[in-house]
């Protein structure tokens, strides 16, 4: 058997979290002490990774995340950062951001030195970097189910308003059993799920409370 085939056979196959799957449990050292995923039960969590402390794009992102933190908390949603740097590095960086930019980072950051959490969540992109995590975002709901996953490469900072919009859209969908159209913003019309039978499709078209372009695309105001 060739070396390559042996490598393929012995390589550990990991199941990464998918939308709808239970988020992998963890216990991790953070800038706010030891935290477990279960500590966030009954609330929503945005778990995100960044490549490294004291790097320019990550610094702008951290200030961006802090900027939406109050809005997220209004949505019963917490923020939790992660990189493979140490707690001391995180603390020094957070202090530096406060000193240089006047922004106090109030959310905890995981020091994932052994990459345990990063690998469980698929935050490592070996083709891009073996030593740094990618810009991953996992939105985890109050039942600890993964609801959305976003990946950005190291070169591109994330859009914080999109993350906030995503959490709002997911929660609105849960609350009202609706879907949200492209570029939806809070307050816009929402989409009614497509009818599953011809009878329901007919009824849908006669419903004056809805704005229907056709039976499969009906909107309403909440």
């Amino acid at each position: 058997m060739s070396d390559i085939r042996v490598k393929e056979r012995t390589e550990e196959i990991k199941t990464l979290p998918r939308i709808g799957s239970k988020a992998p449990q963890f216990e991790a050292v953070t800038t706010h002490g030891t935290l477990r995923l279960s500590d966030y039960e009954d609330g929503w969590l945005v778990l995100f990774s960044h490549p490294a402390d004291f790097t320019p794009v990550c610094t702008t992102e951290f200030m961006g995340f802090q900027n939406i933190y109050d809005d997220l908390r209004e949505l019963n949603t917490e923020l939790l950062g992660l990189s493979v740097d140490s707690v001391s590095s995180h603390i020094a960086w957070v202090r530096n951001i406060k000193e240089k930019f006047g922004v106090e980072i109030a959310f905890p950051i995981i020091a994932d030195l052994n990459k345990e959490v990063a690998e469980a969540y698929g935050m490592m992109m070996p083709e891009e970097s073996n030593t740094e995590t990618a810009r991953a975002v996992f939105v985890i709901d109050d039942k600890q189910v993964v609801r959305s996953i976003i990946y950005y490469p190291q070169s591109t900072g994330r859009n914080m308003q999109e993350i906030l919009r995503l959490v709002k859209a997911l929660q609105k969908s849960d609350e009202h059993h609706i879907a949200t159209p492209a570029n939806w913003e809070d307050g816009d019309e929402v989409i009614i799920p497509t009818p599953s039978t011809t009878e329901l499709a007919e009824e849908r078209m006669k419903d004056d409370s809805l704005e229907c372009t056709d039976w499969y695309l009906c909107k309403k105001k909440l």
Binding site: H32, G33, T34, L35, R36, S38, D39, Y40, D42, G43, R73, E78
Partner: protein
């Protein structure tokens, strides 16, 4: 929210949490509300305090232990 520093002294947040459960046994949710602290931090601190025997727990309600009371005095 580390509960004790290198000298074994209680941190300010630990003192605040212990004061919250000085007279009544409370759930983590009630403590979070009373302290105005995020629930995840309260849960994490209570776990640490339970390991240090600073709190006792019965039916998911936490109360300060006699050991922690001595530290607060």
């Amino acid at each position: 929210m580390a509960c004790v520093n290198a000298q074994g002294e209680l941190s300010n947040s630990a003192k605040k949490l212990l004061h919250a459960i000085e007279s009544d046994a409370l759930t983590p949710q009630e403590i979070s509300k009373q302290m105005g602290a995020p629930l995840f931090k309260v849960r994490s601190s209570l776990r640490e305090m339970e390991d240090l025997e600073f709190v006792t727990v019965k039916d998911e309600r936490y109360k300060i232990s006699s050991k922690a009371k001595e530290l607060l005095d």
